[in-house]
């Protein structure tokens, strides 16, 4: 599937396909033409993806073929035991987690989960967790703390679910509790935004020693669409809203609100999932290696100091 701004690439790739077919059917050697066209496509891709607008990055972050949390777990872990339920209400399918083994290292991985086909999308509630999802996540984090295993969280949500029952069961309290508790976790916590990072629903599992964003993701207090509808009474100004919110990984790093950016393959994570998995695995293992030797007290102090320094104000 191609996004609107990828149309020129799609056209050239269709042309390349035709060329292959023609060469095969007519038995003519077209290798020279093929090579030249392939070069052209690569150039165009490089140009397109190095000049993405903020809205285009939002589009990539939501690409339907983009890997989701369980894809990453499958791609980077050799073993995974999924754990369910918040021990209170039910199992929230929009939040998944469990113990995993990465290169012989045991970790707890927790993340928002979106679905790919209509039925699965509904099952996963479009990646919008209910309070029990946040409470399940906290339960798993406490388990990781008990067994002294690092915690990896993968963030990919259009927001915490704004439903009637979510309010009844304390959506606000559930997120708030996680924020406070995550600061005091004795084990290393590594948080990675792999797709959408919408507001409190994202932050609710994103308090960590290292918070990183994949190259084509967004993280902010509100989605561009909702921001547009508040400011201009319609969703039509989402591009403008995305610009105003400065919500990309590049913006967030510049504002010192995250610790790093994880490089994606050319064209986005979905274009070469294997390469993406490899890169993410490398980044995770490096972070664990850096954080593990520290004393838990030091890590907690560093975590608190980092978030305490976030803000822009003048004092006079």
């Amino acid at each position: 599937m191609y996004l609107d701004f990828e149309k020129p690439i799609a056209e050239l790739e269709a042309k390349l396909h035709d060329m292959h077919v023609l060469a095969k059917e007519s038995n003519v050697d077209m290798s020279k033409e093929v090579k030249s066209l392939e070069g052209k496509i690569l150039e165009l891709k490089k140009e397109t993806y190095s000049n993405l607008s903020r809205w285009q990055r939002v589009q990539l972050s939501r690409h339907p073929e983009r890997p989701y949390t369980l894809d990453y777990i499958e791609g980077i872990a050799t073993k995974f035991v999924e754990l369910h339920g918040d021990r209170n209400v039910r199992d929230d399918k929009a939040m998944v987690g469990g113990f995993a083994e990465i290169d012989g290292e045991s970790v707890m991985i927790i993340g928002h989960q979106k679905g790919r086909k209509t039925k699965e999308r509904q099952l996963r509630n479009f990646g919008m967790a209910n309070p029990e999802g946040y409470r399940k996540a906290l339960r798993l984090m406490k388990l990781a703390e008990k067994f002294e295993k690092p915690i990896i969280t993968l963030i990919d949500t259009p927001g915490a679910f704004p439903g009637l029952e979510a309010e009844e069961r304390g959506q606000g309290e559930a997120i708030a509790r996680n924020l406070k508790e995550m600061f005091m976790l004795k084990v290393p916590v590594i948080c990675i935004i792999i797709g959408e990072g919408a507001s409190g629903g994202a932050l609710g599992i994103a308090i960590g020693d290292k918070v990183m964003m994949l190259e084509n993701t967004w993280y902010s207090v509100i989605s561009p669409e909702s921001c547009s509808s508040i400011l201009w009474r319609s969703w039509d100004h989402k591009e403008k809203a995305a610009e105003a919110l400065k919500l990309t990984a590049q913006d967030m790093l510049k504002a010192k609100l995250i610790d790093g950016i994880v490089k994606e393959p050319l064209g986005g994570a979905h274009n070469d999932p294997q390469a993406m998995f490899k890169e993410l695995k490398k980044v995770i293992l490096e972070a664990i290696q850096e954080l593990s030797p520290m004393k838990s007290k030091e890590r907690i102090a560093m975590r608190i100091d980092k978030f305490s320094a976030m803000g822009a104000y003048v004092e006079k």
Partner: protein, 280 residues
């Protein structure tokens, strides 16, 4: 011209249009329409003596109600907003802040003070809804964080009075991280064994609910306050149905187990002092 003089001349002002009496001598309850002297209204903590309606009030009034003799040391009063994102909608963000500062005489949407309540030291931070809807930006987050630090330094209880529409969109990512920052400081306060009382007033929604407002050792609300995470309009659109009567009211939130109790503002100071007294 005062409402009082106009009635003398026999001109009846439609009550819906004249909820606030301009000369400040008289007050009309927006709920039961009772007319009373403004002094009488403020003496009953801005609660209607007839029907119990709690008028929305600001940090100035809460400090008057809670601090002994209204004596307190105001903390960090010189913090004001930056413009980290150069955010512009219908007007640049700094212009919006300046306009709100001029209109309200406030620097931002929260004030904090250190003083005595029934003879004991407390730090109180209180939000002002008049300032850009009580929205939480960097100044709000930083002032609350510092107020908590002050309580930690003085080893005294921290009381937070919330009244907010949630995050301040014009500070985008910076606004979001204030939820984290304030929660971090509350975790430290908690670890040090100091009491935290969160008072939720009308309205408390969004990122404020999803951070410090819900993290009290004691979560207390004023009667009838709107308290929730998502706004009622968003929820209505999500579920495609009208919301049940009383949904997201303080009474609803109490019933679902997220508040310790609801307190009449006229009883607030005594009840807080009683509670804190038992923790000593």
């Amino acid at each position: 011209m005062s409402w009082y003089k106009r009635t003398e001349k026999g001109i009846v002002t439609p009550t819906e249009e004249k909820l606030e009496v301009p000369d400040g001598l008289w007050h009309q309850c927006p709920e039961c329409k009772k007319i009373m002297q403004a002094d009488e209204h403020s003496a009953s903590s801005y609660v209607c003596p007839a029907c119990g309606y709690h008028d929305r009030i600001n940090s100035k009034e809460y400090f008057e109600i809670l601090f002994d003799d209204n004596a307190f040391l105001e903390l960090d009063e010189n913090l004001s907003s930056g413009d980290p994102l150069k955010f512009i909608d219908s007007q640049p963000y700094p212009a919006r802040v300046a306009a709100s500062q001029k209109k309200t005489g406030l620097k931002d949407a929260v004030r904090s003070g250190y003083g005595k309540m029934n003879g004991s030291d407390v730090v109180i931070a209180c939000m002002d809804f008049r300032f850009i809807g009580g929205s939480m930006g960097s100044v709000v987050g930083e002032k609350i964080a510092r107020a908590i630090d002050y309580a930690r330094k003085k080893k005294c209880p921290f009381i937070m009075i919330s009244k907010s529409g949630g995050a301040r969109m014009m500070e985008a990512g910076f606004s979001l991280m204030q939820m984290a920052k304030t929660s971090a400081k509350l975790a430290l306060l908690d670890k040090e064994g100091l009491p935290y009382i969160s008072i939720l007033t009308d309205p408390t929604t969004g990122g404020v609910t999803a951070s410090y407002a819900m993290l009290g050792d004691f979560n207390i609300a004023e009667p009838g306050s709107l308290i929730g995470f998502a706004g009622p309009r968003v929820i209505r659109e999500t579920i495609g149905k009208d919301l049940p009567e009383g949904f997201q009211s303080a009474e609803f939130v109490l019933e679902h187990g997220f508040l310790d109790f609801i307190v009449d503002r006229r009883e607030m100071k005594k009840k807080l002092a009683d509670l804190l007294g038992m923790l000593k």
